[in-house]
Assembly symmetry: C2
Homo-oligomer: 328 residues x 2
């Protein structure tokens, strides 16, 4: 199976490449489509060393050239921001058999968040093209779900983090270790049952209170629980939605409204929206448990998410904790 | 099962009421929600005579009043144009168990036709409310699929009619006798498998050439086949899309692009969009065949569709044939 991936060195892309490389069930021939200025970057060179076919790819080329580069690809996986309309047009002409648009987030309906609506607009375009597709959502990442500990000992692991519980704290929310995104994607893209479907693949389902309880139990520390009411979240959305400098805050407030207030990031609501659910499709597949992730965080420390975008995120988000900086 | 219907005397509504009344599998208690000015109309009085509970219903009433009127309703079926956002809000508060929005047309993706996109916007609203729903599409009606015969003998049956074949005439298109819409709806709304699903229930699948062949064979008349190319249809869409006086033409061109050029009004494309298909769910259910409909039209004559809106449609559409008038 010939898989091409855009954004192979990013947060999701690298997880996907890792899983495709280590898959024993399906043999994947992996191509990383890389923008010309990035070809010499160390992590791109490293991909090549590990057996990934690295190809220079410029979406600004003529559509004929782009189409020619996509010929022979079975599955095209998008893990970065780019003009997916142009990409999908070329993929259709090239005969790509399955297009995976850049979703990989929590489940929510249309009309709640512009970021999500833009993804849905891409899906609409794929459907106007009659291009075979699979939408994959993975819930919220463990890596950005942890609250601070009073001792400060996991500050080095926090970046985007859990600043307050939304609502009453008793609404279930689906979460996944970001390192498992690729494990799920590798299974889903090789599965004929998921063609032209939306799939919700997640590992853990628990409420905020259950999550805080677990963190307290395993860390042995008592955490002060801060709350953000539904009205405060709505006010936050109203305050940030038209301000490009508050974009990250707007995303965070709208995500939190959806998962903590509306309870939309759950398998029940995903089924209601027409998704297939990963646990139904692959009962044998167990991701990294939240407990194991947390133990590893407490013992070893993990690389914070999005560390490479630290400066941008710190400027545009109230939810970024710069522990990495202050503890060094 | 308590079913309430809005638009019970319209084209689809009356078919649905007929089927609910004659259903033997499920016992339906039927309520027609009727606007106050229409309560005395003969066809509303007739509903009452036939055992339908007729209730005065004004969506402009306070939301509390509207909600109170919807209490106890299991399935709310919408078959007319009205403010579905306000209606759905009240239905959610009233605890309606299944909301059937006003779809009942051919299958197409988003972004092709404003009429369809407005329906999808209602679906989005239902999903933001977490209101249980079922979307039902039925394909194109037999009643508006017939071409004129040279003899003029079915002119009395034609109103919106088949003026030209789109494209090459070899694209399959799903069609249904409008009198069967209710038969399908009655089955679908009593079926737990269709809750929170889109269902495509149709009877006949054939290309325009196959349809013309059948009409020629059963009528014994040779029909001149006129064609409308994809470019002509696109030009028609561009010419009409922003002109409110050409609204019906715009709808017709966009529908025809979807079914005759893009081949979207088919079970294959419906499945691709995530629909369940009526023939898969109810293999025992056979609608009126196109041949039987055509024989009846040739022998007996049928009431043209939308006769009651004749003047409006005649003014706004190039696809209306006023045979009814000229032959009287």
């Amino acid at each position: 199976m010939n898989v091409a991936i855009l954004g192979a060195t990013g947060q999701n892309g690298s997880s996907i490449v890792d899983s495709l490389l280590s898959s024993t069930e399906t043999k994947f021939n992996i191509t990383a489509l890389v923008r010309p200025p990035s070809l010499k970057k160390p992590n791109v060179v490293d991909l090549q060393r590990r057996g990934v076919n690295v190809v220079s790819f410029n979406l600004a080329d003529s559509e004929d050239n782009v189409t020619a580069q996509l010929k022979g690809i079975d599955v095209l996986v998008v893990c970065c921001l780019l003009d997916e309309v142009a990409l999908a047009n070329a993929a259709k002409k090239a005969g790509v058999k399955r297009y995976v648009p850049c979703f990989y987030a929590s489940v929510m309906p249309r009309g709640v968040q512009t970021l999500r609506d833009n993804k849905e607009a891409i899906l609409d375009h794929l459907q106007r093209l009659h291009l075979p597709y699979t939408v994959i959502d993975v819930g919220w990442w463990y890596q950005i779900s942890l609250p601070r500990l009073p001792s400060g000992r996991i500050d080095r692991n926090l970046f985007l983090y859990n600043t307050a519980i939304g609502g009453n704290g008793d609404v279930p929310c689906a979460r996944t270790d970001s390192r498992d995104v690729g494990v799920y994607v590798a299974r889903i893209i090789a599965d004929p049952r998921t063609l032209n479907q939306k799939v919700f693949a997640y590992t853990d389902l628990r409420t905020q209170h259950q999550l805080y309880d677990t963190v307290e139990r395993l860390s042995g520390e008592k955490i002060e629980r801060k709350y953000r009411t539904a009205d405060e979240i709505d006010a936050g959305i109203a305050r940030t939605k038209d301000d490009p400098y508050k974009m990250m805050d707007y995303y965070q407030f709208t995500y939190q409204k959806s998962y903590d207030i509306m309870g939309e990031n759950t398998p029940e609501y995903a089924r209601y929206l027409g998704y297939q659910v990963g646990k139904d499709l692959y009962p044998d597949l167990e991701g990294i448990s939240f407990e194991d992730f947390l133990k590893e965080t407490l013992e070893t420390g993990l690389k914070p998410m999005y560390e490479e975008h630290a400066d941008f995120l710190r400027e545009s988000s109230s939810f970024v904790f710069n522990g990495k900086i202050t503890t060094e």
